[in-house]
């Protein structure tokens, strides 16, 4: 193995990102407080039960919504099917906690639903007849309608690239549409669907905003409490380690169940546009209704609720320093995304050219940062800096570095980096996997150096993947809550933190304005780049 520039830089990046995972793991060698005993005797079972129910329900719901809508828009033609194709990804713009605010605002006593009924039918006691979507059910709905787009995007991309021959084969064997779906289309799209569901699973277990808003006790709450109330970081880390194990176990199980099945075919024929089936009558109406309901519930509903409140309580609009919040949000987004993209790109290239096993294992481990809840990452970072400051910096008589990293933009960017490195690394990796290694070799044989191959061959090829990853990360950072809350500089607010603070003070009306702006910015990001997100080259 040759240790060169690419090896060293990739090693440093991967090692840096792996530190929090090592911190979480090292917690097993530390003493925990008596919080563990207290929790075991009281709520631990409830936490585990709630987390399990939450996870399973969200997975089932996102699978049904995401795969169902992807199937309809990929294989059928019905009114507005082309509109739904991209409209269904707009739910990305609504984070679960804003969805939770909208659910509460609409269905609470004397809420928006009540107002509508009152305006339509006059004064009456509607409150007892309006269903309440709060508690665990509220969290499930909020997360599912916000995150199903992961499954939708990946399933749709997979459906799009399924060879027409495969579908024709089903027809040839006399399969009904339903049988073609469950015995050919879905199994062939399985890796993509599982990849989508794994993102949903990690986001669900790490979800903080909606869970906190509805006061549901999950393992994440346990982690947060053990740190906030008992100052027991070791136990918080242990709990998150179990969370990680749980997620890994799920996916190892799925992987084992695949046995030796392959899910892709080598095709020399290139992309062939699928022949969509034109629906008519009742079937067309059903397909339209399903997609419209998903679009309405996931995007239009929270958007209109937030708009309604912004219009109803305009004073909140003027109370906020919108320009300031906008600059702060965009500043964080641009800075963090660029840092992430550049380093993930370098690390991917380093892995590709060195072909080193150690580096490969390190990179694989480093991407699991995405599965660690943001709360834990932020806390682990503070603990690490405090320890480093006390035991290294001060020992040698240097000035304290706490202020440089804690409560600073630098600290925020570092922790975002660790949290979202997986998204950036994997997004670029999937782009890289499409470049045959013989392309690199051809480039070397044409006299191009490694650096020139990287700049002149890889980067132009990866342009679309990079843009896609950039938008994905930007959306994550716009919506991100716990890390920003814990690590932001004093008096530095974003739309997300402003919305959270208002909501936690029971000022949901005030939360509406920053929430609305957050949705609008995220939506504009999605609209500008929807063609890259959908990866629909032929349309």
């Amino acid at each position: 193995m040759k240790i060169n520039f690419w090896y060293i830089i990739s090693f440093i990046i991967s090692f840096f990102v792996i530190i929090p995972i090592l911190t979480v793991f090292s917690s097993f060698f530390e003493n925990t407080s008596n919080y563990y005993q207290v929790l075991k005797d009281t709520f631990l079972l409830e936490y585990i039960f709630n987390s399990l129910i939450l996870l399973l329900s969200v997975l089932i719901l996102t699978f049904l919504i995401g795969t169902g809508s992807a199937y309809l828009v990929s294989f059928f033609e019905f009114p507005f099917s082309n509109f739904f194709k991209w409209a269904l990804i707009l739910s990305f713009a609504v984070p679960p906690y804003i969805y939770a605010y909208s659910l509460t605002a609409f269905f609470e006593n004397y809420g928006t639903a009540y107002t509508i009924l009152k305006n339509l039918f006059g004064e009456a006691n509607y409150n007892q007849n309006i269903p309440k979507f709060d508690g665990l059910f509220g969290v499930i709905l909020s997360i599912s309608f916000s995150l199903y787009a992961y499954v939708y995007i990946l399933a749709r991309a997979s459906f799009l690239y399924q060879p027409q021959n495969l579908i024709d084969l089903g027809k040839n064997l006399g399969f009904s549409k339903f049988k073609t779906l469950y015995s050919i289309i879905l199994p062939a799209a399985r890796p993509a669907i599982v990849a989508g569901l794994s993102l949903v699973a990690m986001e669900t277990l790490a979800e903080f905003g909606a869970v906190d808003f509805f006061s549901i006790n999950t393992l994440t709450t346990g982690i947060y409490n053990s740190w906030i109330a008992f100052d027991d970081l070791a136990f918080a880390n242990q709990l998150s380690f179990f969370l990680l194990l749980f997620i890994f176990a799920l996916f190892i199980l799925e992987n084992l169940s695949r046995k030796k099945a392959r899910y892709h075919m080598n095709s020399r024929g290139g992309f062939k546009q699928k022949q969509k089936i034109k629906l008519s009558g009742g079937k067309s109406l059903m397909a339209f209704t399903f997609c419209f309901l998903v679009f309405f519930l996931s995007f239009l509903f929270p958007l209109s609720q937030m708009m309604y409140w912004t219009i109803k309580f305009p004073e909140n609009l003027f109370d906020l320093e919108i320009i300031n919040l906008l600059i702060n949000t965009l500043y964080l987004v641009v800075l963090s995304s660029l840092v992430l993209i550049i380093f993930a790109l370098i690390s991917n290239y380093g892995n590709r050219v060195t072909k080193d096993k150690t580096l490969n294992i390190l990179s694989t481990l480093s991407i699991s940062g995405y599965a660690i809840p943001g709360v834990i990452l932020a806390v682990a970072f503070i603990t690490f800096i405090a320890w480093f400051d006390e035991s290294v910096i001060k020992t040698y008589g240097f000035l304290s570095i706490k202020k440089v990293f804690i409560g600073s933009i630098l600290g925020l960017v570092i922790v975002y980096f660790i949290r979202f490195y997986s998204l950036a690394y994997n997004g670029i990796k999937s782009g890289y996997e499409k470049i045959n290694i013989s392309v690199d070799e051809s480039s070397y044989l044409l006299g191009y150096s490694k650096r020139k191959t990287f700049m002149n061959i890889h980067i132009p090829f990866l342009r679309n993947s990079l843009l896609f990853v950039l938008i994905l990360i930007s959306l994550e950072i716009i919506r991100e809550l716990p890390i920003t809350l814990i690590l932001r500089p004093f008096n530095f607010e974003t739309f997300a933190t402003t919305a959270y603070i208002s909501a936690s003070e029971d000022l949901l009306e005030a939360a509406a304005v920053p929430s609305l702006f957050l949705i609008l910015i995220a939506t504009s990001f999605i609209l500008v780049t929807s063609k890259y997100i959908l990866r629909d080259q032929n349309e």
């Binding site: 020399r268 290139g270 992309f271 499409k434 470049i435 045959n436 013989s438 392309v439 070799e441 051809s442 480039s443 070397y444 044989l445 044409l446 006299g447 191009y448 150096s449 061959i457 132009p460 090829f461």
Partner: protein, 353 residues
């Protein structure tokens, strides 16, 4: 100091820690010579090319190009610094560039060589790829992609050009024409070339020397004529599928005796003592048809090959012998009929093992 333009000395070719071909030595004497390496699929021909290109390393022996050591256990000049071009068998065009841009990337390295610089137009005409210049690699057929890849390699005018099954995906009808054009341009530009192929006719036509790789070894490296007529081992005979081996006894300086065919005369390419038992290589064109001969064998099969028929005849000792007959020969023999062999049997070059 060696005067050869290119030289491989006692090299083991490895891929993924596994030795594919051992103890290989051969050389290309003059700049501009074209040699071919022949062998069955998976034998390690591509590994040899990849190693020469610098994409794989060696632990034993040395590779020299133009007097300069480019590979040894200690030295490995990077691929980009060798001026060696390799056209891969599979499509390795840059997918995000058009065919024209792909070829022009190769032209960036193009230096004037021996007073001549090849232009894009010349290369496009040579390989007949004008119609695909503005297309992307995914929009063209496998054969067109192979020609485009070949164009990109040729335009670099490398010190050494390596072609891995360059025409395997090209339509048969077009293949011979491309072979003629390729040979012409390689000659014109004096580009030293190593071609890997499993098509012996392609190798015999394009190469001034041919190497046969079998069972992890370079079995024979010689002029195509010699490889064809004087194979140096039974393995090479079997690989080239040029005939059968029948038992015979050496009866004189120019004669031997077979139990089924009787006396056979001709020139031995290697001396054997009188009375020695040998295996005689009998090729389809060695026997002549003669309806009037008293040596008659039974026809068990007849293959029509356009310009000729190949009859398979059964001898009294149940040996199957192939015999070549021009297809214009009026008297065609059916299966189970008797087929006359001209006597005395004369073979120009007698090859025995």
């Amino acid at each position: 100091m060696s005067k050869n333009f290119f030289e491989i000395e006692d090299v083991d070719f490895n891929v993924g820690g596994k030795t594919k071909v051992k103890n290989v030595s051969f050389s290309i004497e003059n700049e501009g010579d074209v040699i071919c390496l022949l062998g069955p699929s998976g034998i390690g021909k591509t590994t040899i090319l990849r190693t020469i290109a610098g994409l794989e390393k060696i632990n034993k022996g040395s590779i020299k190009l133009n007097g300069k050591l480019i590979s040894s256990k200690k030295i490995n000049i990077e691929p980009e610094d060798r001026n060696v071009s390799l056209a891969f068998q599979d499509n390795s065009l840059f997918p995000h560039y058009t065919v024209e841009k792909n070829i022009l990337l190769g032209a960036e390295r193009n230096k004037e060589k021996n007073g001549k610089k090849i232009s894009l137009k010349e290369i496009v005409d040579l390989l007949d790829i004008f119609h695909i210049l503005n297309k992307y690699p995914h929009e063209i057929s496998a054969g067109e992609a192979q020609r485009a890849s070949l164009a990109r390699s040729l335009i670099t005018q490398p010190d050494l050009l390596l072609l891995d099954e360059p025409l395997s995906n090209v339509d048969q009808s077009f293949k011979e024409e491309i072979q003629v054009r390729l040979k012409k341009i390689l000659n014109q530009l004096k580009i030293t070339t190593i071609i890997v192929t499993h098509d012996s006719y392609e190798a015999f036509y394009l190469g001034s020397k041919c190497g046969i790789i079998l069972n992890q070894e370079l079995k024979q490296f010689d002029d195509p004529y010699k490889v064809y007529h004087f194979p140096n081992s039974i393995e090479v005979v079997n690989f080239l599928n040029r005939g059968i081996l029948i038992p015979a006894k050496v009866t004189g300086k120019n004669t031997l005796e077979n139990w089924d065919l009787g006396t056979i005369e001709g020139n031995f390419i290697k001396e054997y003592p009188k009375g020695a038992n040998v295996q005689l290589l009998l090729q389809p064109e060695d026997l002549e048809h003669d309806d009037t001969s008293n040596l008659k064998l039974e026809v068990v099969d007849r293959k029509f090959r356009g310009t000729n028929f190949i009859y398979t005849l059964k001898t009294p000792s149940n040996t199957l012998i192939p015999v070549f007959v021009h297809s214009h020969h009026i008297h065609q023999h059916e299966v189970d009929e008797k087929f006359g062999i001209k006597r005395p049997i004369h073979i120009d070059h007698i090859v025995c093992f």
